[in-house]
Subunit: 323 residues, 2 copies
């Protein structure tokens, strides 16, 4: 939520001279993304986003992230597109950081998505999966199923500080997921963090997807399960079946979910809930005493998980079991 | 440097419907100003800045600040201009805060101003003083000479934590200023915080002034003295006479400095240095332990003050004593 690295006018002007984008008109540090420093840059030609990568992004992953954005943008996905410097590069140095310069996406995220937003989100997710199918790079999912036990081990003994019984709940759930996690579903590049914050709308149109910094290779249907968690619960943690149906039908209308993917959905949604429960619990227990930004409350995902534990079929999310 | 108050898309769209500015295209929380929450708002018509006033701005002062911006903008000063809602108002409520909506100013602040920037700053300051001359509202300078003793009393005993001898230095300086402070100079509305951060340039042109939230009634030449402190010292605290001359000649070419104002300048610059030394010392001693934003180091103004203590005439700043 904050600008971490200050960029001076002289440094930015010198940076822009390496691109064919006109000259600097205005720039503002923006509160977008918590991991990196971002500036909105207005030139005589257009608006752009300048990103300076801070410590939490691994430099070796950047060609994957930026390559992916460029790859899917070329195939019709609306997302920020990396701008090439006149020497061809998409990564350079600025203010001591690795920097990228991408096109600005009109639109804004919707705080309270309606069913029609969920339908468009489902379509856009499937279009992204298809567009990324022939992307040649790969990146393992560090927060995938294999990473959950090690992450839990980092805070296991303090779990019940968040809510009594949480240690047992996660322990039992991880054991169940170990035994039932589907490992033969169709795989590809997933966004892995497609929360409402990362999807822009403009009027009735979905104007684009942002923030590809968790993208990785995993089961495509797991990405759908993440979105069911992120888009279809109400403030009181009730699952909104209308939104679930809209999301799943939107997705299925572009990329048909196979019988195996449908059958796996109740486990995938539990896994997705656990993944966010784990990272939010860790962040919650390790927040700085005077942090300006309060971490998300992990308890939101306990409630989601409890709902998923009652689900026996994808029909509870709004789609028929048969494809 | 942070967004304090979150504004949802629904709330912002409802807010914009009260103005004749088109519909929402994009909005980003920006890191501008440390006192208030600011958003850059792009509509189908233009760019704007939305400001939500946080606790440190007194609501009763807002008609002065916004009225002043509108008043001087009408008289040719380039600065953000408050946009009136269709019901005529310039202040409203949004997300539980008092909110204002102003035009966006192209340009950006210069980290290392050159003499030509100082000349343009001097001209713009004088033009602002002339444009504000018939502004009907008034606001006392809470950080003016009468406020320095009470502010010092708040941290006097801890002064030497900043640098040994600071308590004595400020004590002696305040006594001297009490005895010599000029009280009959031409008065009017001053900006009172016209640091390089608050002046935008675009190419060779000064494109505007921002951040009028310290504006108040005081001696006009005191505003010049603040700018001499803020614009004309090098990183090693050497006073740059070329920049000082450029600033003073720029100002004087638009609004002639009287013999009394010229004679008073060496005291006014000391007072200005003390004013920033006092507020920065107070902020430094009262910073939160884990503050994300490090306060300015007060010592910068000890060095400036020591220079001013050697000055006997405005000629040391670059302008003749005789008008």
């Amino acid at each position: 939520m904050a600008v971490y690295t200050e960029v001076t006018d002289d440094d930015l002007s010198a940076f822009l001279a390496r691109y064919d984008v006109g000259t600097l008109v205005a720039y503002k540090g923006i509160a977008e993304g918590v991991e990196n420093t971002n500036y909105l840059v207005q030139t005589t030609q257009a608006r752009f986003i300048l990103t300076l990568y801070e410590a939490r992004v691994a430099p070796e992953d950047l060609p994957f992230f930026l390559g992916l954005m460029e790859h899917v943008a070329k195939r019709g996905v609306s997302c920020p597109r990396p701008v090439h410097a006149t020497d061809g590069s998409v990564l350079s140095k600025l203010a001591g950081r690795t920097a990228a310069f991408v096109t600005f996406l009109d639109g804004f995220s919707i705080k309270k998505p309606r069913a029609d937003h969920c339908h468009k989100l489902g379509r856009a997710l499937a279009e992204f999966h298809l567009a990324a199918a022939d992307f040649p790079r790969t990146r393992a999912n560090a927060l995938g199923e294999a990473g959950w036990h090690p992450l839990f081990d980092k805070f296991r003994s303090r779990s019940d500080e968040i809510v009594p019984g949480l240690q047992q709940l996660i322990h039992d759930e991880l054991n169940l997921l170990d035994a039932t996690w589907p490992r033969t579903l169709p795989r590809g590049v997933i966004h892995a963090d497609l929360f409402p914050d990362n999807v822009f709308f403009l009027g009735d149109r979905l104007s684009g997807l942002i923030d590809f910094y968790f993208a990785c290779n995993d089961a495509l249907a797991y990405d759908v399960a993440i979105c069911l968690n992120a888009w279809c619960f109400e403030q009181d943690y009730a699952f909104n079946l209308t939104k679930g149906r809209a999301l799943l039908e939107g997705y299925d209308s572009v990329r048909k979910l196979s019988p195996a993917e449908r059958a796996a959905m109740p486990i995938l949604t539990r896994g997705a809930a656990v993944r966010f429960l784990l990272t939010r619990s860790y962040d919650w227990l390790n927040r700085p005493a005077n942090a300006l930004v309060t971490p998300h409350n992990p308890f939101d995902y306990v409630r989601r998980l409890r709902f998923h534990q009652t689900v026996r079929s994808i029909s509870a999310y709004g789609l028929d079991e048969a494809a």
